[in-house]
Symmetry: C2
Subunit: 337 residues, 2 copies
DNA sequence: TTGTAAGCGTTATCAA
DNA sequence: TTGATAACGCTTACAA
C-alpha cells in the first residue's frame, strides 16, 4: 500500500517557517499567535491535509481519550441497539463519542473488548456483561478513577454502578396476569439460566406462582434464546400429557420465537405474555401482551451515572432500576380451554 | 477524581530491577527473556495492575490502530445492527476490533464521527453515508492508504469501494409481483428522496410500472421513514377518490408502519410488499411478502473489500451488489377488489 | 539475555 | 508573540 506519510505538525511548521509549538497553538486555540502567522498556518494545514494525531495528543496530555466504550452482547438485537442509542444521546451532549463493540455473548470476547477499550484509555466503560464473566479485575480500574457502569445485567463478583430493568417484579406482574385469567400450566421460555436477567425474571415467575399457590413444575421451563430455539421449545411444551396453556416468554427473541412456533402449529388458543415490547406487537392476532422495558431510558440512566462519576461523585455504588410496564393487548388475556 | 497514576512499563521495570525494554519483550513475546526474569516481570505486572498503553505503542510503531471504524445511521435499526454484526465477524478473524458510531442520519454527526475515527488512526473506515454528505475530502485519506468502503449507500461526490443491495432490481421485482396480481394503483412509501436507497428503489418501482405500461402517479408516493409516519401515510393513500390498492414499502420501518396503519384501519384487502425482511413476517395475517436483503452478507462483503485493500490490492474502486430475493408469503398476492 | 539511545507526534515549561 | 527543550509510554536498532 502506498503509505504516504501523513503530514505532522512539524511538516506544517516547516512549510510556514515556524515551530511545531506555534502550529499547536493555532490548532488548539491556545496562547497568542499573530493574526498573519495564524492565517499562513491555516493555509498550510489545508494544503498539506493536516489532521492532528489524537493518539499523540492524548498521550502527551495524559488525558483520557474522549470516548466512552460500550460493550453489548449482540449488535443485531434491537434491544441493545436502543440501549446504545440512549447512551449516545446522553454522552454526545458532553462532547463524548460513543464507541460500541459486541461481545457475541461470550465472556472471552468481552474480556478482549474491555482490554481494547482500556488500552485505548477510554473516558468511561459501560458494559452489558455476558454470563460467566469475572469482573473483579475491573476493581483496580475503578479505583484508578475510571467510571464503570454495568447495564441490563449486574457484574460478576463485583459491586458496581448498575442500571437494570425491574426484571423480577415485571416478570411477576406478567405471569400474574396469566394467572388472573385462569392459567395454572404456565411455561417459562428464556435465556440460559446463567444469565442475570433470566435468573431475575425466573424468580418473578416463581414469585407469581407461589403467590397463587400454584406448584412449580420444572417440565414447564425451557431455554430458547434465539427465534428457532424458542419456536421449538413451545412446540415441546404443548405436546405432553399435561401441556401448558400459557407461555411467558422472557425476552424479545423468545417472544418472537414463541409467536412463530404457535403460528406454525396453527394455535391461537395459547395465552402469551412477552418480556420486552415488539414493534409489531399490536398487529399480531391476538395482539401481544407484554411487559415493556424502556431500553433508551436504561442507556440514558447509565450515561448519567457515569457522568456523575466523571464529575467527581464519590458515593458508593448505586443500582438504578428502570420500571417495566404491563401492556395488555389480548394474548395474555386468553383463558385456558 | 482520584486519578491514581497508571503503572507504566518503567514502573514495572523498576519494580523488578530491569529495563523497560525487557518488560516490553515480555509483553510482546518479542525476543528472548530468561524464564526467571519473565516470571518476576509477570508477577510485577499483576501486582501493579499494568495495562500496556496502546496509544503509545501504536504511535511508536507508526502502525495504525488495530480498529476498524464503522459509521451507521441508527443503532436501533436492526438492519444496521445486522450489517455491523457481519462486519465484526469478518474483521475479528484478522485480529481487528470493530468500533461503531451512530450518525443519527445527519451529515454533520457523520463528519464528526469520521474525524474522530481518523484522528484515532483507525485501520480502515466503513461508512453508511447519510444523505447530503460530501465525501470528497476522504479522497486524500484514501490516497494516503486508508481503506474506505461505503456500505448500503453510495458516497456523495466520490467513486469508492462500495457494497449495496440490488435495490433497483429488487424493488422492480417486488412491484412487478403486485402488478402480476392485478394491481395498477400501487403506492410507494419510502425514505426521504435524498437518500440513495430510496432513489434506487424508487427507480425500480418506476421501472416496473413502465414495463407494465402503468402511468406514474405522483399522488401515490409518500415519505415515511419511521413507523408512525408510514402508518399515517398509508392512511392518506387509502383515502382519496382513487385510492391505492397495493403498497410497496421501501424499507423495514416503512413496512412496519404500513402494517400498523392497515391494522388500525382494519384493512386486510390491501396488498403489501416490503423491502427488507422482518422476523415476524411469516406470522402476520396476511403473511408479509418481502424483497429480502442480506445485511450480514453486506457487512461481510464490505469487510472483505476493505481487507483486500489492506493487503495491497490496488485495483480501481469496485461496487459489490448483494442480490435480493423475493419471498412471496401472501400479502403481495392479494388481488385488487 | 539484557541494556542504551533515539524517536513516534504532540504539548508543558520556560526562555527569548 | 515565538522558540527550544523535554517529556508522555512505548518500540526499533544496535550494542554489550
Amino acid at each position: 500500500m502506498s503509505k504516504v506519510r501523513r503530514a505532522t505538525m512539524s511538516d506544517v511548521a516547516r512549510e510556514v517557517g515556524v515551530t511545531a509549538k506555534t502550529v499547536s497553538r493555532v490548532v488548539n486555540d491556545d496562547g497568542p499567535v499573530a493574526a498573519e502567522t495564524r492565517a499562513r498556518i491555516l493555509e498550510a494545514m489545508g494544503k498539506l491535509g493536516f489532521q492532528p494525531n489524537l493518539m499523540a495528543r492524548n498521550m502527551r496530555v495524559g488525558a483520557r481519550d474522549s470516548t466512552v466504550g460500550l460493550v453489548i452482547p449482540d449488535m443485531g438485537n434491537p434491544f441493545f441497539g436502543t440501549v446504545a442509542g440512549g447512551v449516545e444521546n446522553a454522552v454526545r451532549a458532553r462532547g463524548l463519542t460513543l464507541i460500541v463493540g459486541s461481545s457475541e455473548e461470550t465472556a472471552e470476547r468481552e474480556r478482549s473488548l474491555i482490554s481494547t477499550f482500556l488500552a485505548r484509555r477510554v473516558t468511561a466503560l459501560l458494559i452489558v456483561p455476558s454470563a460467566g464473566g469475572d469482573h473483579r479485575p475491573l476493581r483496580a480500574e475503578r479505583a484508578a478513577g475510571l467510571p464503570i457502569v454495568f447495564l441490563d445485567r449486574l457484574a460478576g463478583g463485583l459491586t458496581a454502578d448498575s442500571v437494570v430493568s425491574s426484571n423480577r417484579e415485571g416478570a411477576r406482574a406478567g405471569v400474574a396476569q396469566l394467572i388472573r385469567h385462569g392459567h395454572r400450566r404456565i411455561a417459562f421460555i428464556g435465556d440460559h439460566p446463567a444469565l442475570y436477567t433470566r435468573r431475575e425474571r425466573f424468580q418473578g415467575y416463581r414469585d407469581a406462582l407461589a403467590e397463587a399457590g400454584i406448584p412449580f413444575d420444572r417440565d414447564l421451563v425451557e431455554i430458547g434464546h434465539d427465534h428457532e430455539a424458542a419456536a421449538a421449545a413451545v412446540t415441546r411444551l404443548l405436546d405432553g400429557r399435561e401441556p401448558a396453556t400459557a407461555v411467558f416468554a422472557a425476552n424479545n427473541f423468545a417472544s418472537t420465537g414463541v409467536i412463530l412456533g404457535l403460528a406454525r402449529l396453527g394455535r391461537r388458543d395459547v395465552a402469551v405474555v412477552g418480556f420486552d415490547d415488539l414493534p409489531l406487537a399490536e398487529v399480531l392476532e391476538p395482539a401481544l401482551t407484554v411487559v415493556a422495558q424502556d431500553p433508551a431510558a436504561m442507556g440514558r440512566a447509565a450515561a448519567e451515572l457515569m457522568m456523575a462519576r466523571l464529575d467527581g461523585e464519590r458515593s458508593k455504588a448505586r443500582t438504578v432500576v428502570i420500571p417495566t410496564r404491563l401492556i395488555a393487548r389480548g394474548s395474555g388475556e386468553i383463558p385456558p380451554p
